[in-house]
Every structure is written in C-alpha cells, then in structure tokens.
Amino acid sequence: MNRAMFRIVVFALRGWTWAYTLPLDDVDRETRRREIESDVWEFEAEHGCRATGFRAAVHILLRAFLGVADDLGWAFEHMTPRAPAVRLWTVIRFAVVAIGAATVVVSASGPPLDPARALSVTVEGAGWMQDSKHADSSGAALAPAIAFTLTNIADRATTALEVNAVFHRGALGSAFAPVVGWRGLGPQRSSPAVVLRGHPLYVIDGETARRTAVRLDSVGEARVRLFVHHEGRWASLGDFTIPSRPMPR
C-alpha cells in the first residue's frame, strides 16, 4: 500500500508539473519537467526501499505542495503573451484536483497499520503432537502445537507478515523456529492454516537421572504466545492455551 501511495504521489507531482508548464514554450517546459524527474529519481535512488514508504510519500507531497505558489509564479513569469487564457484555467483546475487527490490519498492511508489490532487469530486446534524423531526407550516425545488462521479485520492490506510462537509450560519456555510468512493479507482476507510446534518435552527421572518423554496423561496444560512481524517490528497476538489432549488432525 505504501508503495502504491508513493507511486500515486509521484504521479500527482508529475501531473502537476505537466500542468503548470503547459502554457510555457518548449524549452522552459522540458527543462522544468526533466529537472523534477531527475530530482525524484535521485531521491528514490538514495533512499532505496525507504523511498517508497509512507514518510517518503508525505515528504514528496509536502515538497510539491509548499512549492505550488512558486511554481505558479515562475510559470507566470515565463508565460508567453500568446498563451491562451483557457490554458491558464486548465492549469488552475488541474492544480486543485491534483493537490486534492494526493492529499486524500495520503490522509486515507493514515499511519502504519497496528498488526495486533488488525489481525484476528482463529485457533483451529491445539494440543500435543507425537514427535517420532525424538523418540527414546520411553516412547515418542510430545511437543505442544497450535493450528490457526489469521484474518485481516482492518480496512486496508498489510505488508509482508511473519508469525512465530513461544510455547511455555510452567517456567519452561521454548521458541518456535523458523518463522512462517506471507506477502501480506488484504482487507477481510484470511491466511492459510498454519501449524506451529514447540520443542518436545522431557522430564528427568529422579531415580535414574535419565531423560524420559512426558506421557500425555501427565503433560498438563501449556500456554503459547503468538507473535507477528510486520513492517520491522514484532507484536504480540495474544496468549492461547494448549490443552492436555492430542493435537486434532
């Protein structure tokens, strides 16, 4: 969305430059248009990906808006006496429309989306999964797991998302890795179901001092906290219970 907004603002700037240079002779018109084009290109090239963000769009819009009076003054100074008056009115009308449209776009986009508020978690299932990879003499190890979908309940799309989870039982915690991600969720769209699993759980036998897998009837409840990574920061999506039952298929 931010990239689209940036493109719209640059388009509005080009449109405005096109409009106020319309009544001028070819040399003045081309000079100014090429100079603005070069300036925008240098700005984008210097800032890389950041150049297409919300702040960059606002920056360009402000630079354009604050220079409107000088643009018009400069255009009047360079206007040829033969320029028809109808062109002047075209310029003024276009200015009003372009500035209005760009302002609406920027104000509608608003501040960055808060993923904790924009994303709703639907738990499809939670429980304990048997982990045959970590099986030992006492049987397959059990690992806490949660299956869920994310729904974007905001009125605008998110950018790329990554989710992660921290499972904990008592004072013990384990972080899930690697993260799972998408390119983003449109408004009112849901992600595919995601299953995240913690590390297998063991207990130390007091007599033999051996590590043994926890049995389902003694595993008890665990908790999981889901996190989402969005636009450079992690946010918590809430805590959920992992009941002491097998993970539903």
Partner: protein
Amino acid sequence: MRRKSGHLVPLELAICEAALRLRARGEDEFHGYELAKALKHDADARLLTAYGTLYRALGRLASMGLLTSRWEDPRAATRESRPPRRLYSLTPAGEAAAEQARRDAHLAGRKRRPRWAPA
C-alpha cells in the same frame, strides 16, 4: 519575499553559500537534489526545499549571472540508467556575492553584540 534592488533573498544567499561549500569539497558542479540536501543539512531542516521554490530560485540566480547551468552528457545518464541531471556551478560573480553576504552577516552580528558601558 520582496527584494531590495541588488540584494539577494535568504534562499538565494543560502544557495550561493552551499555552492561554495560544495566547491570546497571538490564538487564544482551540483544538481538540484544535491543542492536541496546541502541546504537541508546547513539549515538543520527536516524537509528538503520545495521543488517550486528551489528551482525558481536557481533560475533567478542563473538569470542574474550568479550561476551557470548545463545538461550533463546524456550518455553518462544512460550508462547509469537514470534521467540526465542539470548541473549548476557558481560563477565568479556568484562567489563574490556569497563572500559579500558572508561579510555583511558577520558585520551585522558584530553590530548587534551588546557592549559593556562604564557604570
């Protein structure tokens, strides 16, 4: 801003001074965006000078003979896959104007300085 005859407005002075500083760094020629960055840095501003304000001021300075400009070789721009730059440079008259402005500002600062008087 209404200008007195033969005087430069603050933005024009700032442009000449920024051009002098760029020259001291070995950059005899500069393009609009580069100058906007230099002005932002000098003024410790949050925003680059507005497009219309900057390019109108550059045009005025060029018409006063304080700056000259040329379009760079299009082949250089094509090689770097970017639009061609309009390169400006300070003329000797521009340099003199900037030096004069600097001296005037220094004198004005000295006049404003409070002086001790006998009790």
